[in-house]
Amino acid sequence: MGAHDLWLLSPQLAMAALACTALVVDLATGRSKLVLWLSLIGLVIPAALSIALWAANPADTLVFFGAASVDRFSLFFTLLFTGVAAAVIVSAEKYASRFQEQRGEFVGLILASTTGMMLLASANELITIYVSLELTALPVAALLAFLREDRSAEAGMKFLILSGVSSALLLYGLVFIFGFTGTTRLDEIFARIGDLQASGGFDSTVPFGSYGLLLGIALAISGFAFKLAAAPFQMWVPDAYEGGPTPVVAFLSVASKAAGFAVVLRILYSAFGSPELAVEWSALFAVLAVVTMTLGNLMALPQKNVKRLLGYSTISQAGFMLIGLAAVSANTSAGSLVAGPQSVVFYLAGYAFTNLAVFLGVIAITNRTNDNTIAGFAGMGRRAPVTALLLAIGLISLLGLPPTVGFMSKIFVFNAAVNSGLAWLALAGVLNSVISAYYYLRVIRAMYMEAPTSDERITLDPSLGVATGIAAFGAVLFGVAPWFLLRAAEIAVRSLSGVAGS
């Protein structure tokens, strides 16, 4: 512990300091515009520190006695979260007129939650994981309740209650894992499970080798499902999405989901990466993937509210990502162990661009119309041509058509599934993609084929337009030329101890 630890943890520390600065500046000056731009510029610091750390690639990545591991995997996500936070803050600039007085707090809470996510992506120890998880969830619950509407407070309450129940389940699972292995550090858990397997302490007739571990892992995974917006904890999503402020919902669906997948990937590979266990949880995730995709898709079909529709869409997208989690080690040829997590990380990064384009487009339009129904988007192709185009690009990428990143993500995920002997799972994924075409195209059809309800033009706000443009550009760029992102995802995943070791 010393200067080296502080240097490794500097992106997280900078983000925490930025969150505090935003709150203090807001309190001292009361000029929320200043806070907004100050924190946007301030976000450069954690981003620059992450890039510097990625380039330096220190040999010893463990921080504070192994509580966190700042490797390239966590730095990849750190950069992703910083970018998402910047986009969300930009999008809140105009939207925030609805909560004028608390704009400074809004920025502070977003940054606090981002700090939690950055810690979550690097946490290497069960207690740290739990505390960071709550640091991401609690500010979001407050943010969801930010609008002065009934639905908003309701969204915050539902989110908080379900977050509480899921983290209680998660904790119960973590405590059993701790009780079974006697340690909370992921690398030590891995070592002790290895010792137990070697000494014949595992019962091969029981899943995961013992009932203690079975209970621990099953409870922990169902707790994490809340973060991922996956079955069996997906029911909070539509209500929270419909009621909450749209920028917060965008933050929730992109950053929060990525943080959940980051921590699940790290736990699975660093602590439970041994082949005997991997077969078991792979089967578990295969089932969860099918249930999540199908449930999200079928529920999305009859929706009339765009935000609610995107809520169900985010559930089904989580299902596609779960396919990548299931795709491990059935064939333990050298490449296939990287392919699964690599496809998940690539999917998450692509999904960040895609979904931000969609949400920022929705914000740009609904800021003016104040109408979240699909009917309210009628004729937007004429009323707001640029925004509608960017929004359509995002929707096509969510659907997974070329030349967008959504297409590439699905190819890589399905490919990883087929290579690890889960062809049926890939098939289920393809079928679900076809179903999802119905509701994504419905929004596009409303924008381009239906007559507008009024002739008033909707101009695109410059800062919001730039953010939406970057997101949509990324969604197309990484669809045409995915190699850079794919390579970064591979480097990130290879720095996870369980992946590189085997």
């Binding site: 069960l126 619950a141 407050a142 908080l160 509480g164 129940v165 904790l171 119960y172 009621g243 509210n305």
Partner: protein, 117 residues
């Protein structure tokens, strides 16, 4: 007094909490039930730390004293962190309940149905 008994009590408390969350209609009582689940977890964490034979004593390659001490302390630290975070969670929950009550004069979960598909 052994590990199984304490874990059984913990599981019963956890079950009561979960049952409360699923069946109670008042938001305040739901928050209390969540608190019950957290405390069941605390009980289990401390029991594991106290009763499981430390790995080193079972023949593991780690020095006996420091590892045994660390395991006991880890379980207790776990509980302390859970207590702290649970307090924050309940504070936020009560604040939201107040916000809802001011508007609606009710904190019944069954009345929270504005968001519908």
């Amino acid at each position: 007094m052994n590990l199984e008994n304490v874990l059984l009590v913990s599981a019963v408390i956890f079950g009561i909490g979960l049952f409360g969350v699923l069946t109670r209609r008042n938001v305040i009582v739901v928050l209390m039930s969540i608190e019950l689940m957290f405390n069941a977890v605390n009980l289990a964490a401390i029991a594991f730390a106290r009763f499981t034979v430390p790995y080193s004593l079972a023949g593991g390659p780690v020095s006996v004293t420091s590892d045994a001490v660390r395991q006991v302390l880890t379980g207790q630290a776990f509980a302390v962190f859970v207590i702290g975070v649970a307090a924050a969670e309940v504070t936020l929950g009560l604040a939201l309940a107040m916000a809802i009550f001011r508007r609606r004069e009710t904190v019944e979960v069954t009345d929270l149905t504005t968001a519908r598909g």
